[in-house]
Amino acid sequence: MSLLEVNHLEVRYRRLGRVKAALRREEATFPAVVDVSFTLEAGRTLGIVGESGSGKSTVAKSLIGLQPARGSIRYGGREIGSASHSEWQRLRREISMMWQDPVGSLSPRLSIASLVTEPLKIQGGKRSPDDADRLLSMVGLSTDLGSRYPHQLSGGQARRVGVARALALDPKLLIADEPTAGLDMSVQGEILNLLNEIQSRTGVAILVITHNLNLVRHVTDEVAVMYLGRFVEQGPTDAIFRHPRHPYTEALLSANPSPNPDERHGRIELSGEMPSPFWRPAGCEFHGRCPHARPDCADIVPDWAGEGERGYACRYPL
């Protein structure tokens, strides 16, 4: 049994009021996430990669019950998609979230010590006076920081406080939304090393949401690439990096070029921008930007192809 099993997840956002939609004879809602399915085992890391507007953060929100969704979300074998408020309170002890904005997600009025122990306070349970020190040293912060406030921290330190809060309750599943956004290259490594180290010690399963494929390569076991609310390619990280099958994955992979002039290979330039999810293109939704598109890609929706853990939505894979 997998720790987390998501099947045919669909999230719709409202676009128009009901009256306006009826008058215009248009749909009042549009799908932001379409038919997303994956599983995550304990101790493993899955990366969901995509650009802004691809729906990756919406997936994260629906997994912690902050966004109503259709489809099935099973956690530890139990369906949690329709869990009640009180059930969610208990579940959030086991499923925790690291938010994208490290400083914005910390209350400016609480000291760092109160911030890292806040989850313990909310969830009850055994508490001791040295909780704050224990959590701060777990994420490699000096215990002196306990008396400071969020605005006095650097971006990297605020991230570590976010990690400490997310891990305070020993969760089984950690959802990290852009865990390194806004950090310098030398500090990004520190945060990722910390997550890797904590995972190997506690066996927590991690879901990383990011736009940076090159970062995913070093921390995830499996990766799913999202485009316009759908998974377009999914599989073991190694295999996807060695040989991407979907042209969108290939383009994303080329987007973080090596600084070594001897290894410089051209980045793949996609034409245009991601279409609006209000008006999805017919056929393959990527065909308008795809450098390898063929005429029938504009008409025929590609089926999910591939074998085993590896899959992609392309009729003419690379």
Binding site: M185, Q188, G189, N196, S258, R264
Partner: protein, 344 residues
């Protein structure tokens, strides 16, 4: 070692045969704060070669943006140029009257900012803004409008005529940045300063903007200063690069030389940290241990001494000048001068 020489900073980049458009000499900038002045830039000497793209790279707080802003006279109110000159033609931009700045800014020197939404006026149409910035030109409105359409077409905006009547919020982030580039180039500047122009954009849009900048630079022949923390992008776009750390340029030269054989320990560490340069997947990523020095009390000696794996006694005592080995790149490091050997 006969081939190694101590370069005086004003000789910086003279050996490579490129004609400088702008010459920065010994530029120092302080920011005044309640807890005393921060020495944010110290003795920067750098040439911006005519018709080439110079990358300014470094991590947050290294002073790359402050340097860029000082070159267009847009430093914050609490900043003060304490030392040095910035030569552009017959002007010294470090000591320029407000009137003279008005003549230069937006004409000889233009800038593209990080966030295209906040650098466009939200209550005026794209067309109005593009005609506004041609206020110096003695041409008719129709001619100004035509020029605006031409430049929108240059930056590959589809249906440019119709776009003139759009407001910034009606355009996507990538389109807005294209408009900003078109506006910056409209006055045919000699120097275009781009401050992290792709940081707010998605990866696939970043590629488009980088390729566009490269094409336009070649077409217009202007010099570009490209400020970025992203080494791969700098390697792809720039001809020359200056690596900054804690308010100093620690290494400068051509992109080919510096990224192939970085000589400064900071440049080496930075390149190692870039996930784009690590080919094999690894669970333990390299980092640079330690933290930035306090720029209120700048340590004597080398600025990187506390984080440098190769530090020796002289590094703590004396501040290194620029040295060059057999190549033309300049490095503020005594190791390039030969281990501990006195060369002056």
């Amino acid at each position: 070692m006969s081939e190694q020489k101590l370069m005086h900073s004003s000789d910086a980049m003279r050996g490579d045969g490129h004609v400088p458009l702008m010459r920065i000499e010994e530029l120092s900038v302080d920011f005044s704060t309640a807890r005393g002045p921060i020495h944010a830039l110290r003795h920067i000497s750098l040439d911006v070669a005519a018709g080439r793209i110079l990358g300014l790279v470094g991590e947050s707080g290294c002073g790359k943006s402050s340097l860029a802003y000082s070159l267009i006279g847009l430093l914050a109110g609490n900043a003060r140029i304490t030392h040095g000159v910035i030569r552009l033609g017959d002007d010294d931009l470090a000591h320029l009257s407000a009137g003279r700045w008005r003549a230069l800014r937006g004409k000889r020197i233009a800038m593209i900012f990080q966030d295209p939404m906040t650098s466009l006026n939200p209550v005026r149409t794209i067309g109005q803004q593009m005609m506004d910035i041609q206020y110096r030109e003695r041409i008719t409105r129709a001619e100004k409008r035509k020029l605006a359409v031409d430049f929108l077409a240059q930056v590959r905006i589809p249906d440019p005529e119709a776009r003139l009547d759009s407001y910034p919020h009606e355009l996507s982030g990538g389109m807005r940045q294209r408009v900003c580039i078109a506006m910056a180039l409209l006055t045919r500047p000699d120097l275009l300063i781009a401050d992290e122009p792709t940081t707010a954009l998605d990866a696939t849009l970043e590629v488009q903007i980088i390729h566009l900048l490269r094409d336009l630079q070649q077409q217009f022949g202007c010099s570009v200063i490209f400020v970025s923390h992203h080494l791969g992008t700098v390697a792809e776009l720039c001809d020359d690069v200056a690596v900054m750390y804690a308010g100093e340029v620690v290494e400068q030269g051509s992109v080919d030389e510096i990224f192939r054989q970085p000589a400064h320990p900071y440049t080496q560490a930075l390149l190692e940290c870039d996930p784009g340069s690590i080919r094999e997947a690894t669970r333990i990523l390299p980092t640079i241990p330690g933290s930035l020095p306090d720029l209120r009390q700048v340590p004597s000696g080398c600025i990187f001494q506390d984080r440098c794996p190769h530090v020796f006694e002289r590094c703590r005592r004396e501040h290194p000048g620029f040295y060059s080995g057999e190549r033309t790149q300049l490095t503020r490091c005594y190791r390039v001068a030969g281990e501990g050997e006195m060369t002056s």
